[in-house]
């Protein structure tokens, strides 16, 4: 972990208001694990004041680069989208607790919306370990699934869902999951909007399948110092910190009610 000035190597608009940003940062790449994130300063001014967390979408050891896949949703990501090649960005990372990898298992990877972002790195890592991987990606429309091809390399079973039916199954990724469960997976990995995570958690509990969820929370420090990015825990730990106890949690560790 450290703070680095990372040079922008490539920056590509993928779909309406979603971008792929590649940063040169070998120090982070060397240590990064799937499910971890980086904390980025999106501007040099005080607007916005805080950094913004983004999952590591993929790494390229040869280029010493990591990529993030992000959507423009507000001021920070809007400013980020205007950053040019060769500009430097201040990056903290790699941060947080990533996914626990499995070996020789039958796993399902579920990504919904921008929750697709961390799943590519995860898929790559899982594919190295002799797992049987099913990947389920969902989005509003086919535009939201433009990164699907990068996933195809890591699985023979890539299933897509869109709300408007413009690509793959018309409906939610949770519906795809329900079918996949008949295949008796032994591990679920999920990242996506809260309603999706709630459903995945419910299904995993019902079926008794271990399940790892990547959560989001508003962050300040990003490194466990401010105690700001809490979610609701279960059992002893009242309020786990998403940035350092997570972002990846076992489904049973967290309470997703609002």
């Amino acid at each position: 972990m450290g703070v680095y000035e990372a040079r922008v190597i490539s920056h590509q608009k993928l779909q309406e208001s979603a971008y792929l940003l590649e940063l040169h940062c070998p120090e982070i790449v060397e240590k990064a694990q799937a499910g971890q994130f980086v904390h980025l300063k999106c501007s040099e001014t005080l607007a916005p004041l805080l950094r913004r967390p983004f999952s590591i979408h993929k790494t390229d050891a040869a280029r010493g680069s990591l990529s993030i896949y992000y959507a423009v949703v507000g001021e920070g990501t809007d400013l980020l989208s205007k950053v040019s090649i060769n500009e430097q960005l201040s990056v903290l990372g790699p941060l947080g607790k990533g996914f626990q990898l499995t070996k020789g298992k039958n796993v399902v990877v579920i990504g919904g919306g921008m929750g697709i972002a961390p799943m590519l790195f995860l898929a790559e890592e899982l594919s190295k370990n002799d797992n049987k991987i099913t990947i389920l990606l969902g989005a509003r429309d086919k535009e939201g699934l433009l990164v699907k091809d990068s996933f195809a390399r890591f699985t023979n079973d890539l299933q897509l869902a869109t709300d408007d039916g413009s690509l793959g199954h018309k409906g939610t990724v949770v519906e795809l999951l329900k079918e996949s469960l008949q295949d008796n997976p032994t591990m679920l990995y999920a990242c996506g909007p809260l309603p999706m995570l709630k459903e995945v958690k419910r299904l995993s509990e019902k079926e008794g399948i271990p399940c790892q969820l990547s959560l989001e929370a508003r962050m300040a420090c990003g490194i466990g110092a401010c105690l700001g990015c809490t979610c609701k825990g279960k059992g002893e730990k009242y309020y786990p910190k998403v940035c350092s106890d997570g972002p990846v949690f076992w489904a049973e560790e967290v309470d997703l009610s609002e």
């Binding site: 903290l92 420090c221 110092a225 105690l227 990015c229 809490t230 609701k232």
Partner: protein
Amino acid sequence: MSKAPDLSMEIAGLKLKNPVLVASGTFGFGMEYCDYFNPSVLGGIMTKGITLEPRPGNPPPRLCETPAGLLNSIGLENPGVDDFLASYLPVMKEKFSTAIIVNIAGSTVEQYAEVSSKLDGVEGIDALEVNISCPNVKEGGMAFGATAQSAAQVVAAIRNETSLPLIVKLSPNVTDIVEIAQAVVDAGADALSLINTLLGMAIDIEKEKPVLGNVFGGLSGPAVKPVAVRAVWQVSQSVDVPVIGMGGITGAEDALEFFMAGASAVAIGTGNFTDPLTAVKTLSGIEEYLTEKGYASIKELIGKAWKGS
């Protein structure tokens, strides 16, 4: 060739190698920042607020960014004084060769007193910072800091229990901060910290309800700097004890404003989040400034804007 300027400072009998500290609640117990720099280069570390019993803190969401500011409603989540002494302090002592200032809070005068008595005489603790100004918990903070009388009462009770240097942290959410400052000094404070956060809130217009789980939060960051500088200016001219200034410092220029307004040391809070290196950069920026302007010691700057040249 010019000599390096003298950055050392003495506050309430506490010798600091330099006057740049990190503010309570923004630096944990120092461990998290070790990956980014060595906290021992700083003048001191002010710990997260410690209470008698462990506290879970407030329900999430606890953070809301605002223009040039941050609202937080952490609510004094902390392991409690016993666990702090058993698990955290030993690591801090071992890892850090800099002043360790333990920030304390409580819900009753008795709790403040009891925490202080447990911390008194413990090796490795250099000073106490008493938070009577936390807007984030119903009891145990702001209520005591709101009137001169209750503030003095808390401070007197703590003074009774400890011979550690006593820094009392004041709230800006009052009509007359000078009155409160004078009262706590009379009650035994050796130094003052100001400011704590401003009471604020934000509303999520999509959800049509407050953003923070706790409704109210404390506002910090550059947005509040003008209020903090004003408070330091007013208080430092009215009391005979040193003032530690904080509120929105993100670099040396901000810190210099505080010194010239009357602060004897500064603390970086929210600025740590923008850049974990803010405190070290502030320190080196101050040193450069002194060298450039030919000041022999940081002490020459304290209160310069009201003392004149």
